[in-house]
Amino acid sequence: MMKQYFVMLLLLSITFGQIENYTGISTANESNPAWLINDYTSDFQNLGIEMNNGKGDFGLMYEPDKIFDINYIAKGEKQLFKNGIFSGFVAFHQQQLGHKMWVHNRNPYLGFPFLLADSSIGDMKLNGIHWQLGYSHKLLDDKLFLGSQLFYNVDEEIKDIFPKPIIKHRDMALSLGAGYKFNQYLQSGINYTYFDFQEQAKTSKYSQDQDKTPLIFKIRGLDNPIIFRGETSEERKQTFIGHNLKVDTKITDVIAKEITLLGEFETGEIEAVDGGSYPINQGTMDATKLAFFVDARFPLIGKSEIKFCTFGENRKYNADHPDLNIEVFEFKKEQLGGGLELIFPLNDHITFTPKAFGSSQFLKREDKFNGVLDYFPSTSFGGSLGIELVNYSKINQNMSVGYSTTKIGDSEIFAENTGWYYNEITAVEEIYYGTDSYTYWIDYHLNFQFKENRFVIFDIKYQSWNPVDNDYFDDYKDLSVGLKFEIRK
C-alpha cells in the first residue's frame, strides 16, 4: 500500500522537475518493513538490469543535460523461519552525467543553500554500490508484525575536467517498524527511520603547470557567492542527519472496500563544513517535512471499482548563516492534490484503468541575506489510461499512456541590488520555475512465465517534459528500461 503513495508522489514531483529522494536512488524501499511478511507470497530471487537515459535542456541550471543511469540488481525474499522473512537487494550503480555545471553537490535543489562549486562545466562519472536488507517477523497469531530494514550506499563521482572534483557519498538509513492487525477491519503500523547521508567533495590541488585557474564558489543562497580563485584545493563535507516517522492505517470493509491512511513527519539537520583537518562551518539548515496520503477504494457495479486518493506535503527548510549565526534562508514547498481511478474489468483477462489527478503546489525561496524572494504557485492536472492483460499464455502485461499539464499561477519575484550570480543563475532558475509545461508518458510492463517458476520481467517507460510558449528551453526526454529474470518457489 505504501508503494502507491510513493508512486503518486513521484508522479507529481515532476511538477518541480526534480528528484525528491535525498539520495537520488530510486530502487530503495521506504515503506514499513513490518509489513514485508504480510505482503509476502513466495520466496524469489531476481537478477536484472535497469537503465535510464535522460537528455534535454528543460531543467534547472545545475541539473545535467544528460543522465545515463545503469543499475545491476540482485534481489530476493526468503522465508527464514515459520514466521519470518528476509528480503534484500544489492545493486551496482553506474551513472554518467553530461554537461554538469559548477556545483559539486549531488542534489542542489533540495533547499540547502550552501553549496560548493567551481567554474567548470563537464561530464561526471559515478560508480557505487548500494544494498538494502530487511527482516520481518509476525507474532501473536499473525496479529503483531515487526520489521527492520537497513539501507547503505557508497559511491564515488568524478568530474573529468579541472579542478576534477571527486565527490563521495556514504548514505545510511535504518528503519524499525511495527504493525498490528486489530481485527479484520483495521490494521495500523508505525515506522521509524534514522538516516545519515554524507557527501564529501574534494577538488584537485592547483598548480601553475595547469592551463586553467578555476574559480571556486561557495554558494550561499540566491546571490553573491563567496569567490576564491583556484590557488588552493577545496574540501567540503555535508551531512544530513534526521529522523522520519510514518504511521499507516488500513481499514477494510468499513465505509469503503478499503481505506489507506498514511502520515509522515520528518525532521533533520544539514550541515556543511570545509577544510578537512580544521573544519570551518559553512552553514546549517533545519529541515521538516509533513505529509499525508489517503486512498479509498469503493465497489461499483460488478467487479468494477473506483478509487479516490488525496495527498499533501509540506516541506520547510530554514538555514542559518555560518558566521552571523542568524537565519538567512527559507525554503518552503507545499503540495496538495488528489485523484481518482476507475477499475473496469472487461473480463477475467482485461482490465481498463483510467485515472485523473490534479494537484496544487507552491515553491518559495527567500534569501534574507541578499533580499531575494521568489514564489511560484502552480496547478497540475493530468490523466492516464491503463490496460491490464492477465493470464494470456502465461503472460501478464500492463500498459498505460498519460498526460499532465502544469500551469504557473501568480508568481512573485523580489530582487533588488542583484549581482552577477543572480543574473547568471538564479534568474534562469526563475524562468524555469515560472514556465508552464506539459508532460506525457507511455509505459509498458511484461511478466512472462517461460518455465515453471521462471519469469522474465520487462519494463519500459518513455517520458517527455515540454515547456509551453517558451523560447528559453526545448524539452527533456527520459527513457527507462528494465529487464529481470526471476525464480519463484
Partner: protein, 423 residues
C-alpha cells in the same frame, strides 16, 4: 523457557490486556459499531471531502523580503594640514572612497560630501578593504602654497568587519607623484594558441607624463617581494637598469618606451600573441641561455632566479626608480636586493584576486590599490587611464592608486593607448 518464548509470552500478555481493555470493551464496541453505521451514511461526505482537498489550492502570501544590506559611513580626514589650509577644515570633501568586499569581490565607489562623509549604500555584511584618494589641482595648491603643483592625498583601511550600520574615519596623507609612469604592463601571458603557458611576450610600457624630457639612463625596474610593505626598503628578486651615461635615452613628453621580455614577433610562435620585435629595450639574461634579440639590452643588476626577468602571471608589483649605486644597501637573508623606497618614481601592484589585500606588497604612499583581477594566460593587460589632454599630449591618471588609475584591457596595446571611442 527459552528467551524467545519469554518474549512471546510477554507479547501475548500485552495483546490480551489490549484486547480486553480496548477491543472487548462493551462500550467501545458500541462506539465502534456506531461509527461504522455513521460512516456508511457518510460515504458521500468522505468522497466530497476528498474532492474538496483535491481542488484546494496551495498558496502563501509573500512580500518584499528584507535583506541584510546596510549603509556604511566613511569620513575622510586629512591631518597633514593641506586640506585645512585649503578649506579651513580637516575633513576632505570630494575624496574618492573605494571599498572592496573580500568575500564577494564586490566593489563600491563613492565621493565624500561637504562634511567629508561618503555613504556606502546597500552593501552586504562582510570584511572590507578601503582606499581613499583626493587630488588637488595645481590651481588649488597654488592658491595656498604659491607652488603650481598637483597634490594627491591617499589613505587606506584594511580588513574592516562590517556587520551592522556604523562609521569609520580614514586619514589621508600626501603622496609624491612621478612624472615618469608605467602606462601599461602586460604580465598575463597569452592563451594557448597553440603553445600553452606562453609568457615570453610580457612587456613594460613607460610614459613621460610631464611637460619636460626625462632621461631613462641608469633608471631601474625592479619587482617586489611581499611582506615588507611597512619597511623603508623594497626587497627585489630582479632589478634591471637602463644603459646610458646620462642623456643617451631621452623620453620626450607624451612619448612611450617599451621594454620587452624578448623583443621578437611572438605571434610567429603563438598566434594570439603580439609583435614586440620593434621594442626599444629587452631583458637579456646571458648566463641563463636567453636569446638576445635586436633591442637594446637592459643591464642586469640582480637576478635571483629564472631564465629571464619573468613577471609573475598572477601577482606582483613593479617599481621604476633611480639610485646612484644599486648595491649600496646590500641584500636580505634570501638574496633579494634592497633598494630605498624614497627613490621610487612610480609603482604598480597587480593581483589576480583583487580581494587579497592582506598580501599587498606596496604601502599606500606608493600604491594605495591593486589592479588586475583576471586569470593568468587570458591575454589581458593593464593600462593607465587617460585623465585629460593638454593639446595633443595625453595626461595619464596618477593618484598612486592603481585601483583607480588603471583599467583592464582585453588585449595588450604596446606603444599606443586603447581609446574606446576609436575602437
Amino acid at each position: 523457557m527459552t528467551y524467545s518464548n519469554k518474549i512471546d509470552k510477554t507479547l501475548r500478555m500485552v495483546q490480551k490486556t489490549f484486547e480486553m481493555v480496548v477491543l472487548n470493551n462493551a462500550i467501545l464496541k458500541d462506539i465502534i459499531t456506531l461509527f461504522q453505521k455513521s460512516f456508511d451514511h457518510l460515504k458521500g461526505g468522505i468522497v466530497f471531502l476528498i474532492f474538496v482537498i483535491f481542488i484546494s489550492s496551495c498558496t502563501e502570501n509573500v512580500s518584499q523580503p528584507k535583506s541584510m544590506r546596510l549603509n556604511y559611513y566613511v569620513t575622510v580626514m586629512d591631518t597633514s594640514g593641506l586640506t585645512e589650509s585649503l578649506t579651513g577644515d580637516i575633513v576632505v570633501k570630494d575624496a574618492q572612497v573605494f571599498a572592496s568586499s573580500i568575500s564577494y569581490q564586490n566593489y563600491v565607489e563613492q565621493k565624500s560630501d561637504e562634511n567629508g562623509k561618503a555613504i556606502l549604500e546597500n552593501i552586504l555584511p562582510d570584511v572590507y578593504n578601503f582606499s581613499v584618494t583626493r587630488r588637488y589641482s595645481k590651481e588649488d595648491v597654488e592658491s595656498v602654497t604659491g607652488q603650481s603643483v598637483e597634490r594627491v592625498l591617499n589613505g587606506q583601511f584594511q580588513s574592516v568587519n562590517i556587520t551592522e550600520e556604523d562609521s569609520i574615519e580614514i586619514y589621508v596623507n600626501p603622496v609624491s607623484l612621478g612624472k615618469l609612469v608605467f602606462s601599461e604592463i602586460y604580465y598575463n601571458g597569452s592563451p594557448a594558441d597553440p603553445i600553452p603557458y606562453y609568457f615570453h611576450d610580457q612587456f613594460t610600457e613607460l610614459y613621460n607624463n610631464s611637460a619636460d624630457t626625462i632621461y631613462l639612463d641608469s633608471m631601474l625596474i625592479a619587482d617586489i617581494e611581499s611582506g615588507f610593505a611597512e619597511e623603508g626598503f623594497i626587497h627585489a628578486v630582479h632589478a634591471y637598469m637602463f644603459p646610458g651615461t646620462g642623456k643617451d635615452y631621452p623620453l620626450a613628453p607624451g612619448e612611450f618606451k617599451l621594454i620587452a621580455q624578448d623583443a621578437v614577433n611572438h605571434s610567429e610562435y603563438n598566434h594570439s600573441s603580439i609583435d614586440l620585435s620593434w621594442c626599444d629595450f629587452e631583458y637579456f639574461v646571458e648566463d641563463k641561455g636567453d636569446v638576445n634579440y635586436d633591442a637594446t639590452d637592459m643591464i642586469q643588476i640582480h637576478h635571483k632566479y629564472g631564465n629571464d626577468f619573468l613577471y609573475s602571471v598572477m601577482n606582483n608589483a613593479l617599481v621604476i626608480m633611480k639610485v646612484k649605486n644599486p648595491y649600496e644597501w646590500g641584500y636580505d637573508d634570501f638574496e633579494r636586493i634592497l633598494l630605498p623606497k624614497d627613490n621610487i618614481f612610480d609603482a604598480v601592484e597587480y593581483r589576480d584576486n583583487l580581494s587579497e589585500v592582506e598580501y599587498k606588497r606596496l604601502d599606500p604612499s606608493l600604491d594605495a590599490g591593486i589592479t588586475g583581477g583576471f586569470e593568468m594566460y587570458s591575454g589581458q593587460s593593464i593600462q593607465r587611464k587617460i585623465e585629460r589632454y593638454e593639446g595633443e599630449r595625453a595626461i595619464l591618471m596618477d593618484n598612486n592608486n592603481s585601483s583607480i588609475d588603471f583599467q583592464v584591457l582585453e588585449k595588450p596595446t604596446p606603444g599606443y593607448f586603447f581609446d574606446e571611442e576609436t575602437e
